[in-house]
């Protein structure tokens, strides 16, 4: 079974990287981009039946820094 963990900066946390991407998009002539926030996608290949709680614990203890980041887990049951 596979799971995807999306790690994103909490709202309000300054994202210099997202800002730079935003500027670059504008430089390429893409108008109408209001804001850009950059995050991470982590794919986990897990033993079947891994509990949700275990994946959450992985996020809390290592994959995300909950001081500045939020995480969202997406289970891909048949992957």
């Amino acid at each position: 079974m596979k799971a995807r963990v999306f790690v994103t900066l909490k709202p309000g946390v300054l994202d210099p990287q997202g800002k730079a991407i935003h500027h670059a998009l504008e430089g390429l002539g893409f108008s109408g981009v209001n804001d850009v926030r950059a995050g991470k996608l982590i794919e986990l290949d897990l033993a079947d039946g891994t509990a949700d709680g275990d994946i959450e614990e992985m996020c809390r203890r290592l994959l995300a820094n909950t001081v500045i980041e939020n995480f969202r887990i997406e289970r891909l049951e048949n992957a």
Binding site: P16, N65, V67
Partner: protein
């Protein structure tokens, strides 16, 4: 004073820190590998050096903070042992939960590598007793992720409790409230982005960092 310097894969200021400690304390520190699980007997000071532990994978300091030796470091810190984390060491201390906040990418996105002016905000700590409060010193920085951030309540608390040890006296990396170094609640753990170990003799271009180690030696010995 017997000190230990923790060495992670990718640490690159461990030897500079060891030289500074040996010069000031007269005693070679024990170099402790990240895979070790115990600190050497009789250690009374721990230094976490700068560098790029684990290639800054995931987040700066994230992997190092979960390495085996860090359990012993966290226990020792909770027992009151003085611990300093410099640059990557500061990032490791926040990731390990010994210090609040997080160190994010510099606001200007550039790696900043130059001597900067710092204001000593608190001269009452173990680490800053040899400085005067409000004194301006020059110490080099060399980092990409030195932008200290925490929520307002945390910032108010550490500021109110006098836990800001050093503040940048110039614009460096976008850190909240110009924070360059902070103490834990008990005052025995200091994390700072600037490198005092790179400013211990005139040949370095300045020796303002030396007093940090001298003050510490006096406090601990």
């Amino acid at each position: 004073m017997k000190s230990a310097v923790i060495v992670f894969p990718g640490s690159n200021c461990d030897r500079d820190l060891a030289v500074a400690l040996e010069q000031v304390t007269g005693r070679k520190p024990d170099m402790v590998w990240h895979r070790d699980t115990d600190l050497p007997d009789g250690v009374d000071f721990i230094g976490l050096p700068g560098g790029f532990s684990y290639g800054d994978y995931l987040r700066s300091g994230a992997m190092a903070a979960r390495s085996p030796i860090m359990r012993a470091v966290v226990d020792a810190a909770h027992r009151g042992m003085p611990v300093i984390g410099i640059c990557n060491g500061f990032q490791v201390l926040t990731e390990a939960g010994l210090l609040p906040g997080a160190l994010m990418r510099n606001a200007g996105l550039n790696f900043v590598c130059r001597p900067v002016a710092l204001t000593v905000e608190n001269s009452q700590s173990l680490f800053t007793a040899a400085y005067r409060s409000g004194e301006e010193i020059r110490v080099p920085v060399a980092h990409h992720d030195g932008n200290f951030q925490a929520d307002d309540a945390t910032l108010d608390r550490i500021e109110g409790e006098g836990r800001i040890a050093f503040r940048y006296a110039e614009q460096v990396n976008g850190s909240a409230r110009g924070i360059a170094g902070i103490l834990n609640g008990a005052g025995n753990v200091l994390g700072m982005m600037p490198h005092p170990e790179r400013a211990i003799e005139p040949a370095h271009g300045g020796s303002d960092g030396r007093r940090l180690f001298e003050g510490l030696l006096e406090a601990v010995a």
